[in-house]
């Protein structure tokens, strides 16, 4: 089974392990993920507020290229890239004239019918049904599933039923044998782009998230977004500074959790790339 993949800058750079783990579990499940040929940046900075046409054209080009390659489904693991692509699809599907205009400017045909999935939707549809036989190493401990801001919003486009208390990741973790705790910081802001401009804010906001997860007994925080991960993991020193204590709780991607549960090695899951050492209270296979 062949599904399109839009990695975006983070999956080829700072969140390389997200990509590695995703490809590894897809392979185990018999799914081939094909990167869109000649994909371009999705425009997921604040700049998309400055030039409307450009902000739509950048993601639209990726959709058009995917269509040309004959892809019906596209998975976009980075939550911000996903937001740009799905918002573009939503807006162009409502405004036909705009779609034609952009299609002309790009000099590419654009039907705008491709199904775009974020990583949770992709996992729910393609991986979870096959999980049964594949779970060899249950993740039998308490985890805090952190969704961040982009996975369930905006409400009118994502149409998720539980946007204040989402459960999709929790359910997947439960299928892996984990106990997904009930905690109030699932969708609280981590500090997002202040990661580069005002790190103390990330320290405070992400610090509160980490502390709450630990207070509720979680042994790991599971995320599905490179920004969430980098703020909770790479910016741990800022968090420790705010909380005035050293927090050890590791942060792993949902794809890494699945990889480890499937019995893949830590190296295959890419956990060595994290800043906070990933020590989990279960036995993991030894790296070959």
């Amino acid at each position: 089974m062949k599904i399109g993949l839009y990695p975006g800058c983070s999956l080829t750079g700072s969140s390389r392990e997200y990509n590695e783990s995703l490809l590894a579990i897809a392979k185990e499940a018999g799914i081939e993920l094909c990167q869109i040929n000649d994909w371009n940046c999705c425009g997921a900075t604040a700049a998309h507020n400055l030039n409307k046409e450009l902000s739509l054209s950048l993601p639209a080009r990726n959709l058009a290229l995917a269509e040309l390659e004959g892809m019906n489904e596209l998975v976009v693991p980075c939550a911000a890239c996903f937001n740009r692509l799905v918002m573009t699809q939503h807006e162009l599907s409502e405004k036909n004239d705009l779609r034609k205009l952009i299609s002309d400017k790009l000099q590419l045909p654009l039907k705008n019918e491709i199904k775009i999935y974020n990583v949770l939707q992709f996992l729910e549809k393609h991986i979870v049904p096959r999980l049964g036989q594949l779970v060899k190493n249950p993740m039998a401990f308490d985890v805090a599933c952190y969704y961040g801001c982009l996975l369930v919003r905006p409400q009118n486009v994502m149409k998720s039923e539980r946007f204040e208390d989402p459960m999709t990741m929790d359910v997947i973790m439960q299928k892996l044998g984990a106990n997904a705790i009930d905690w109030p910081f699932k969708t609280e802001c981590c500090g997002a782009g202040f990661s580069v401009s005002k790190i103390e804010i990330v320290g405070e906001l992400s610090g509160k998230i980490v502390r709450n997860a630990v207070d509720h007994g979680a042994k790991a925080i599971v995320v599905a977004c490179p920004m969430c991960h980098s703020n909770l993991d790479m910016r741990r020193p800022a968090i420790d500074k705010y909380l005035n204590m050293k927090m050890d709780i590791p942060v792993i991607y949902i794809t890494q959790a699945i990889a480890l549960a499937m019995g893949l090695t830590p190296h295959q899951a890419g956990i060595q790339r994290h800043f906070v050492p990933v020590n989990l209270p279960v036995n993991l296979p030894v790296n070959r």
């Binding site: 409400q155 109030p184 910081f185 609280e188 709450n212």
Partner: protein
């Protein structure tokens, strides 16, 4: 043979300054069928009307056209004059020569010609007018009031005091509604039960009011003046005639841990119970779903201890049919439930409660006997945060409207808390403060100035528990423009007022329209706030839209007055400009084919079936029949009918066609 009289009015100079009225009268006089035509300065005046009456008598006129102002002005005047002269009032029509002609055009030949055309049009119409007689519908002078809250109570008392019979139906075991759950009411801080219970007793003792509690409307048939209602009296399992309200059964019932609906889940009740001490009637009912005997066949303690032997385990629901002339819907409202607030933790954290639950805590007869205590551990909270607009004014929650009462009751709650817990601190997160009633603004000021309630303008994004405290995350948009975090001991949500569950079903039973929030629709938002589009059914109270007690009482009296107006006559007289399905002798009977498209178009459900039978009683044809009591005369059915079998009296197909032809042909 038509003998029409035409009377052209100068209207002082209003018409005559731009229209040559003498010429219009002359031109009208030359029309075929016109026996008399004249002009006069003020047609609506006494001498003017006398002129019309004399002409009718002397010339034997069969119809009258008055060319003057708008019929919306004086049609009743001239029709009354005709009636007094012995001419059927519906043989009189008016041509609008003022608002539609003289006032909007300059003096010219074209203007006078237009006036002539307009008069000619109405003359041709009147030639086809038929004498019509007001429709008489008998009136049963008994009213059905559905809902025994303050709205239903007020309406019942007013109608009963006017000398008419009232049947008050309430679905709970006692009347009183939400007002009986309140501790004090704004803006006076009157004890709610103290002002309500005298009325409840009055209702129970009033000779003209029959009280049916633990009962619901099953079916409603008929039309204004003669409804037939079927009421389901749910089995109370008590013989009310024998029960003396001693309450022994409720003290001995072994099933004690049922969450009390009256106490909004904060207190418990028994399976055989009276909802609250001042209940009217003060007789218990058995909650079959939680009673040991009904569920498991054990117990029967109540039967053993009852001194009068009033327990009846074998009692069944009873269906009662009543005939009433009018219905008042006073079913009230409900409070939005927990599932709407995952971010506030309502349902998850015991100390996050709704405003109505706070009322029960504050109430002297409540589960904590009037002390404000946390439901979780019973401790007195030192800090309470009130969240206004919890659900209301929030399209994301599906409730874009304002619930109207929350700003006032939140201020009241904070004040009550401060009065009971002097050292306590209260915070109210608000968007706006809506205190628009009499003495309302002063009341809120009192809360802020005297009771030092802290008002923070901003919304709350999240409430969660940490170390036994409720962390309330909000924002202060006015003073500091910064996020605010408060560690509270209790949070009270002013959750939105919504329609009662089952409101839609009830509305459909009665053919009353309702809006997208299931509040019942009034006939006109400005001018008919207590009537519905269904003749004879009126609205009172919060079932129509959220409102406070003074407005509810006022509206209930308004609805009662409409009922009293209806009952002031033995018969209803209605304008006969209604639809009629044609009938003719056998073998045709009617050109109607029984497709009932007209019935589907009618907004008033005024079209029903008529079965035409032969001598042996066999049905040979099913045709449409208009209920003259319900038809409002819009004519939508007429335009629908493919066989032209239904027509409107006064705006018949023939008449409209004649008008068109007359208007366009000026020779």
């Amino acid at each position: 043979m038509s003998k029409i009289g035409v009377f052209i009015c100068h209207c002082g100079e209003n018409i005559s300054s731009t229209v040559d009225v003498v010429r219009v009268a002359e031109a009208a006089g030359e029309l075929e069928g016109v026996a008399f035509s004249t002009d006069y300065k003020y047609m609506c005046s006494d001498p003017g009307q006398t002129m019309i009456k004399q002409a009718i008598k002397e010339k034997g006129l069969t119809g009258v056209v008055v060319g003057s102002c708008s019929p919306r002005m004086h049609e009743p005047t001239f029709r009354k004059a005709c009636k007094e002269a012995g001419l059927n009032p519906f043989m009189c029509e008016m041509a609008n020569l003022r608002e539609h002609c003289s006032w909007v055009h300059d003096k010219s030949e074209a203007t006078t010609q237009k006036a002539i055309d307009l008069v000619r049009t109405l003359v041709e119409k009147v030639k086809l007018n038929k004498p019509l007689f007001s429709i008489k519908v008998p009136v049963t002078k008994t009213a059905l009031v559905i809902g025994g809250g303050i709205a239903g109570i007020q309406a019942s008392l007013d109608i009963a005091s006017a000398g008419h019979q009232v049947i008050l139906v309430e679905k709970d075991p006692s009347i009183g509604g939400h007002m009986s759950q309140l501790s004090e009411t704004f803006p006076t801080l009157d004890c709610s039960q103290c002002i309500l219970t005298p009325r409840m007793v009055e209702v129970a003792q009033h000779p003209n009011i029959k009280l049916l509690t633990y009962a619901e409307l099953e079916k409603l048939e008929g039309s204004i003046g003669s409804f037939k209602a079927t009421i389901r009296k749910k089995a109370k399992s008590i013989d009310e005639n024998l029960c003396n309200g001693c309450g022994t059964c409720t003290t001995k019932c072994p099933t004690k841990k049922i969450p009390s609906e009256f106490n909004t889940g904060l207190g418990m009740r028994t399976a055989i119970y009276v909802p609250f001490p001042q209940a009217v009637p003060n007789k218990p009912v058995i909650d079959k779903e939680n009673c040991s005997y009904y569920q498991k066949g054990k117990c029967k303690v109540c039967e053993k201890v009852c001194p009068t032997g009033a327990i009846r385990f074998d009692q069944e629901d009873e269906l009662v049919e009543i005939e009433v002339g009018a219905v008042v819907i006073a079913t009230g409202f409900d409070i939005m439930q927990p599932s709407g607030f995952p971010e506030y933790g309502y349902g998850k954290y015991k100390d996050v409660i709704t405003g109505l639950q706070f009322e029960r805590l504050a109430s002297a007869s409540g589960p904590t006997l009037g002390e404000i205590r946390r439901p979780s551990d019973g401790k007195i909270p030192e800090k309470i945060v009130f969240v206004a607009c919890a659900g209301s004014r929030d399209p994301a929650k599906g409730i874009p409207y304002c619930s109207k009462i929350c700003c006032m009751y939140t201020a009241k709650h904070a004040m009550l808390y401060q009065h009971k817990v002097h050292h306590g601190k209260s915070y109210i997160f608000y968007m706006d403060i809506r205190a628009a009633g009499k003495n309302y603004e002063e009341f809120v000021r009192r809360a802020i100035v005297e009771d030092e309630v802290n008002y923070i303008r901003g919304r709350v994004s999240k409430i969660y528990e940490e170390n036994g405290k409720l962390i309330v995350k909000g924002v202060d948009t006015l003073l500091s423009a910064k996020p605010v975090e408060i560690e509270a001991d209790m949070v009270v949500l002013a959750s939105a007022a919504v329609a009662n569950p089952g409101a839609e079903e009830l509305a459909q039973k009665m053919h009353v329209s309702y809006d997208s929030y299931s509040f019942f629709s009034e006939a006109h938002p400005k001018l008919k706030p207590v009537e519905t589009n269904t003749a004879g059914i009126f609205l009172a109270g919060a079932c129509q839209a959220p409102k406070d007690i003074p407005e509810t009482v006022a509206q209930a009296s308004g609805a009662a007055s409409k009922v009293i107006i209806l009952f002031s006559k033995d018969e209803l007289s209605r304008d006969p400009l209604i639809a009629v399905v044609n009938r003719s002798p056998a073998p045709v009977f009617s050109t109607c084919v029984g497709c009932f498209l007209c019935a589907s178009a009618c907004p008033y459900q005024a079209i029903g079936e008529e079965l035409i039978t032969n001598r042996q009683g066999k049905v040979i044809k099913k045709v449409a029949k208009v209920n003259p009591g319900l038809c409002q005369g819009c004519g939508t059915c007429v335009a629908f009918c493919r066989s032209k079998s239904i027509d409107i009296q006064g705006y018949s197909n023939e008449q409209m066609c004649a008008e068109v032809v007359a208007l366009l042909n000026n020779d």
